[in-house]
Symmetry: C2
Subunit: 204 residues, 2 copies
């Protein structure tokens, strides 16, 4: 049996039921709060419905499973919080993107992000949906930052772009999940100046 | 009230009960298997006792809590699997240590490691014991590798050692926890050759 391809988006609106975007946001917010409290495995559609003072049917009309709801919530949050910068320089773009990402991870939604990431190794379906949406979206922004830097002549010809993209994510997630050290601007600056620019930059 | 300092070691043997090291190892093995299956939060001393066909009192005679048991198990595993290399070169030492660490994480005990790391953000007591034992032990090996390289004149004077130590761990844990990409020798080689040696090495 083929694995269904994850669609990423909430279901199309049912006939006669116009979609209410602010209602969707309230439901996603409820999902986020429940996930921060109990984690992904213990999250139920009932708990999300209760938190949002909504009926369970209201939720199932929009998302067909808790996997859909959680991944759609992550994707929306990422789109809202991880805007693609275009400052005109590699250093500027990296600093802006990684600062936003660090703030996103260490801000109020960090707890839910931690719960989700911590459960990826035990939830193969969640992990693969997470990789196909959130992780690829974040990598693609970094790849486009490097592509634009290359067009401006800022990259070494043999720059290991894949490694730079991987390390940028790794450095932040390791602090979030393992060491607990702060995801602050001085750290982002060190990652950019000591690691990423020397790794891929021309004339470093 | 002061937080008790975590001791790391199993309790001293009780009067008239000589310690049996192989019995300790069997109990740690049982703890590891239970953790791989259900995670840290759901692990109980009862389940470990049942797995090891031991009485619960036998376990409590050696470890006073599941936190003690789990951290002692990790510390022992780390000591057995993460020997400190001394090959005579920075490249050799990094390659040997990170290969062992990668094999350790992706081997049979990787599942338990994933379960543990995934729960750190939600278990402050576990996280602080884990940082004070396993994480510091692993960092100290890397620090001593860099110190010896410095004595041999292999490091740049301004080498960002802390960042090198942090990135070495981050690169491996990110694959384990997030991307699921293989923790194999070609990856370790790329981390050493593309990232760590250029970051700290003299004349790179």
């Amino acid at each position: 049996m083929a694995t269904p391809v994850y669609s990423g988006a909430p279901r199309a609106p049912q006939r006669g039921r116009p979609r209410d975007a602010s209602r969707d946001d309230a439901l996603r917010q409820a999902a986020l709060e429940v996930m921060a409290e109990v984690g992904y495995r213990a999250l139920t559609m009932d708990a999300v419905a209760a938190r949002a003072r909504a009926g369970k049917a209201t939720i199932y009309r929009r998302w067909e499973s808790k996997l859909d709801l959680v991944i759609d919530t992550c994707t929306h949050l990422a789109a809202e919080n991880l805007a693609e910068p275009d400052t005109g320089s590699l250093a500027g773009d990296l600093r802006e993107f990684l600062s936003s990402f660090a703030a996103f991870l260490s801000g109020p939604i960090g707890k839910a992000a931690q719960a989700l990431v911590g459960e990826l190794p035990h939830e193969p379906e969640l992990a693969s949906a997470f990789r196909e949406t959130f992780l690829i979206a974040q990598r693609n922004v970094l790849r486009r930052i490097l592509d634009r830097a290359d067009e401006r002549g800022e990259l070494r010809p043999d720059a290991p772009r894949g490694m730079a993209v991987e390390l940028a994510g790794a450095a932040l997630i390791y602090r979030l999940m393992l060491t607990g050290d702060p995801l602050d601007l001085p750290f982002v600056d060190r990652v950019v100046d000591q690691v990423l620019l020397p790794l891929v930059g021309e004339g470093q």
